[in-house]
Symmetry: C2
Subunit: 704 residues, 2 copies
């Protein structure tokens, strides 16, 4: 390596470069009049000798190590670059750091493995937290047929408990078959095809949005049950909770993991204690009942106990199953042996969920709890068990925390699903970008916006949101389980028959729930989901078609690669056209710039004042004799249309050539300065965008 001082400032210096560079680029000699300066080589030239022997060379002392040379023609940007140069930029960056943390490099992405205890906390928040509202939603439907009908809650709970076991068993099969993560979308798309896959994905996305809205609303309801004074602020509290979760997730999931464990285990502890003490107290004192506050109004019976009502109560209760699939998506996050650990955790989760859900329903029955407005059923039962003592308040807070943390499952799942779909071309590419902290920012923010919309629309009322809920969840269950049936049929691994039967039962059971839920809750809001799913599918298909078509158009074909010599001959020097508005420094600079692009430059002056044009022509031919000027008279004062017509005429005269339009553009120091310069460039640019074979060059003239 020659030890030269950081030169290269002289454009005439030989672009020798290092030995490796020469080896690398020696063969790329371009047969042109000007020997190419090859900026990258020159750049390396100027890098030489500053820190001899160092692998990381500074480009120049003033560069603040923005770029490091790692190898020939390979630079690395450093975090210095992230420092903003303007004051507003600095404030913005500082705020981002405070709320979101310092940016992480892509290489810092760590796939943290979880043991079963932490995994249970992380993955089960969504599923277990649904015990906070599932029982209540059953009772709220049954009470329409009078308080006597509430007894039916017991058989309904039994059926739902069976369903939980069936679905959990089903998903254990999925966990075994997809150790790399078997979300409904993946399973359905791989085994059933694109449309079922997109159906599952749409259902899941809707479900994720609803989970956030329902969980936050129910979490806030837990608090307002204990502190009724906050009832009127529930919408604002729910929205604030959503955006708190958004910020936590934009920081990245690493911290979220630890935050998670506390509320989940606190909830499990307090809920378990409530069940144990509740049953114990009831055993000693069977007369124990809930005594509602006197000013509470009961819902009046408006219906008789029809099969339809029972089915509606059942499908409302099925919201208990939401979140069961979370573990199946997250198998790779477990410590090895991943599948077995995941299956074990799944069993634990399903067990806790079943016990809690059935236990609460039975206790509510034993205590003659009747659903009332503004107080949740869980709060009523807990009050009966604990009275208004600290344990009651701790349980309410734990309920709120686990419900709000349950959103996190959606905030992890939605952006991940969106990024997978975007990678396959069914959603906009932005969804695949990772933000400063490696989170899929676009998906997180989108989920925040959508769920905020739902919360605002439904005034943070869980009961209004529930009818929309179950259809999506169970549709994705059904598609996923059906996909598994096909999977076993195809793979015929050992034990495939048993697995197929289990998944078959799961698919069948969840399919029935889909039908029941869609029919009984259709008019209560399920129709929105049944409309939204096909709309989403069609949107995804349209996006997919668009990307596929673009890809086809951009794919290289035979003969696309022209040898360099051919390039020059084929297109010849550019035909360069410069619209001018007189002779001044900006115009001069633009013309000079244009002449460095091509010897073939014409200035065009469009005017409605011929006298002025003639005097301009005289001045032009005196001062810029090397560049012809064409006067286009535009009697109707149009500017864009005559210019386009001129370009069209050029095009017809030389259809094989390409036309470059060089536009002088003023950049004013302050943004308001723009209003003072009626820049034709923006309207010209817009008009030129639709022309093929035309390139647009902005030569910026910076005004002080």
């Amino acid at each position: 390596m020659t030890q030269r001082e950081g030169g290269g400032a002289d454009p005439e210096s030989t672009p020798a470069g290092t030995k490796e560079d020469l080896e690398r680029y020696g063969r790329f000699r371009v047969p042109r009049r000007h020997e190419p300066l090859r900026p990258d080589l020159q750049l390396y030239d100027s890098l030489q000798g500053q820190k001899p022997g160092s692998r990381y060379l500074r480009i120049t002392p003033t560069s603040q190590q923005e770029l490091r040379k790692m190898a020939p023609a390979y630079l690395q940007a450093t975090s210095v670059l992230l420092r903003p140069r303007t004051l507003p930029g600095q404030i913005w960056t500082r705020l981002r750091r405070i709320f979101l943390g310092s940016p992480l490099a892509t290489s810092q992405a760590i796939n943290e493995r979880l043991n079963k205890v932490r995994a249970l906390a992380i993955f089960s928040a969504d599923a277990i937290s649904s015990t906070a509202y599932a029982t209540e939603e059953i009772l709220l439907v049954l009470v329409l047929a009078g308080t006597g009908a509430l007894n039916v809650s017991l058989p309904i709970a039994a059926v739902i408990a069976t369903l939980i076991v069936v679905v959990a068993f089903s998903y254990r099969q999925t966990v075994r078959a997809y150790p790399s993560g078997g979300g409904s979308y993946t399973v359905a798309r791989e085994n059933l095809g694109t449309i079922p896959g997109l159906t599952a994905a749409s259902a899941l996305m809707i479900d994720y949005v609803l989970t956030v809205a329902v969980s936050t609303s129910a979490g806030i309801a837990a608090i307002t049950s204990a502190a009724p004074g906050l009832y009127d602020e529930r919408v604002i509290l729910a929205v604030a909770a959503v955006w708190f979760i958004v910020v936590v997730n934009l920081r990245g999931l690493r911290e979220a993991g630890s935050i998670f464990a506390v509320p989940t285990y606190l909830f499990i502890l307090m809920f378990g204690a409530m069940l144990a003490i509740g049953f114990a107290r009831y055993a000693f004192n069977p007369a124990l009942t809930y005594s509602p506050p006197e000013n509470m109004e009961m819902t009046a019976a408006t219906s008789s106990l029809t099969i339809f009502l029972v089915l509606r109560a059942f499908s409302s209760g099925c919201s208990a199953l939401t979140g069961l699939e979370a573990i199946a998506n997250g198998v790779p996050a477990f410590k090895p042996p991943e599948s077995r650990n995941a299956a074990t955790t799944m069993a634990w989760m399903a067990g806790i969920l079943t016990v809690f859900f059935v236990g609460l329903t039975v206790l509510a029955h034993l205590f003659n709890v009747v659903p009332v407005e503004k107080v949740t059923v869980l709060s009523e039962v807990a009050q009966t068990v604990f009275g208004k003592t600290p344990p009651y308040y701790i349980l309410q807070v734990a309920t709120m925390l686990i419900l709000i943390m349950a959103c996190n499952t959606s905030f992890a799942g939605f952006p991940r699903l969106a990024s997978v779909m975007a990678r396959e071309g069914f959603l906009p590419r932005h969804m695949t970008f990772r933000g400063d902290r490696l989170a899929f920012s676009a998906g997180i923010v989108l989920l925040g916006i959508l769920s905020t919309g739902l919360i605002l629309y439904f005034r943070a009322d869980t009961t209004s949101l529930i009818p929309l809920y179950a259809v999506g969840v169970f549709l994705s269950f059904t598609l996923s389980q059906s996909g598994m049936v096909v999977h076993w049929l195809r793979s015929r691994e050992s034990g495939w028959k048993r697995s197929m039967v289990i998944n078959g039962i799961g698919a069948f059971g969840t399919a029935i729930v889909v039908l029941v839920a869609a029919s009984t809750k259709f008019t209560h809001g399920a129709w929105m989901v049944l409309v939204a799913i096909p709309v989403l599918i069609m949107l995804c298909l349209a996006i997919g078609r668009h990307y596929r078509r673009v890809e086809e158009q951009l794919a290289l074909r035979e003969g696309d690669l022209t040898p360099l010599e051919q390039v020059a001959v084929d297109s010849g020097p550019q035909t360069v056209v410069v619209p001018v508005d007189g002779i001044n420094r900006a115009v001069l600079r633009t013309i000079e710039y244009a002449l460095t692009l091509s010897p073939n430059v014409t200035a065009v002056y469009i005017t409605d004042d011929l006298e002025q044009a003639e005097s301009l022509r005289a001045e032009w031919e005196e001062k810029l004799p090397h560049t012809p000027i064409v006067i286009v008279e535009s009697p109707y004062r149009a500017l864009v249309a005559p210019f386009l017509a001129y370009i069209d005429a050029l095009d017809r005269a030389n259809p094989r050539g390409r036309i470059t339009v060089v536009l002088p553009e003023f950049v004013t120091r302050y943004p308001w300065g723009r209003f003072l310069h009626n820049q034709p460039s923006s309207s010209l640019k817009r008009a030129l965008r639709s022309r093929p074979n035309t390139a647009i060059v902005d030569v910026l003239y910076h005004l002080r």
Copy 2:
């Protein structure tokens, strides 16, 4: 002339051109490797022989005569160009034609000369129409001191009548001295300096806006007096009237002239008849009084008759003088001898105005008219004279028409003043543009928007608007008359002493009115004007400074003109940098394009995935060996900052060179397609805009 068939499609053909062309351009041989194709010559080449001998040659049969060749290097755009190519464009154009008429060529601008009869109609609408509200505004102030105080209206009217005569005489001097139009801005700026000129201009602009708001409101009040059912719709009616006038003015003033004459003369006829019949009836029956409808509420006396109140009544009545200056601005529109005709018309206008104003005030006094809400004083007097007969209704309609037509004076004056100020650099340049119909569209629309704002804010209530009114008008009177005093002092033409005395009296009289109006109406709204005027002045000065600074920066200086050979040597071939995102047809096309600009092209690939980068490099070096590629690793996934850092490094390596960044950009067929392509180009472009010595090239790739 050689008779060749329309060739020129072959870029290799010699760009011979016609004999004249060669004469014209023969000396511009550029010493370059490629002989320039000289597109304009080539264009003419392809024009040859199509219609031999014709002065107007068609460019090609498909060009639909968009451009005509008038002389070498001189084309003319035809009206064919104005035909839009898209359906929405066609609809829009059709609508414009219906409402605004066909576009006019600049050469079609005709300065139509007016005889005295039409000039009186056009210029006096504003002044004469103010009789419709001036008397009422006096009475409305006086009645605050009880109905007894209304007697004071007679001496006030006498003083105002004197003032009218003084101002009219003053302006006759201006007409004589400024046959090319002596608006207050021109007179004050020429004789007193920039700041007084801008003061007069600001006052005038505010006055124009107020005239539109006041006249429309008063016109609608004339109608709602006769048809009280429309009272609640007055705001909407007033706004509709304003935009009707906007459309009429965008069509151009030619038609407006004829529309004008009818209402003005109808009003003069009906008003004159009312005065004559009114005085005659009173002479025969002195007991004749106005009997208000029973449900009308009188304003209760809340004040005693102080000097202050009388002065306030006086300054409200001074609104009668608004519009008096119109003829002075429009002298060049008169038939010759312009000045004498204008002076005569001025005398007529002042005479009619004085007689009408004094006559109405006296009749109102004789009939014991008391101002009431919802009915104008003019309407009360007219009812007393005519009863509710057709003449009464005709008068009311004529009043409305002349008032609404009075706006037209503002709609002619405001845009003209704005264009003059814009030409001198005190307002944005857009104000100088003439629209399709040669009207100053920007100013017309701006006036429409501002006056609509006032009407909405003041709920179309004339009485609330009046306090803002007089200050601006009289301030511009004072500055104009003072300017005339200086003018006579400087010019010392024959009779300058007499003229100076007249203008001095005018300046003194109107200055007193400014002081009286500003002090008595300060709290009623005049303060807004006193705040707005200096703000406007400062804005104009700031705009002026900006344009002056830009002009200085753009002015050619010694040594700016570099000989062509020098241009090439100085800057050398461009350093061209192309950010790429892979190898596809769009990238290929961009690289090929870049190679036609300069042999010195480098591709830059910014990534956070080094494996992918290495495989891209391998593919690149195989497929595009002629163009080096630089990999910039961006571990924090930033795109713009590393690219800028790379450009900065290039810049430091070769500070004298210019850098051209070529950006591939996708143009999708439908606008929504944009959302699917996260184009880095827009954010890159924004960042590059602030770099000096950088040009940005968009190579558009059109997706089907």
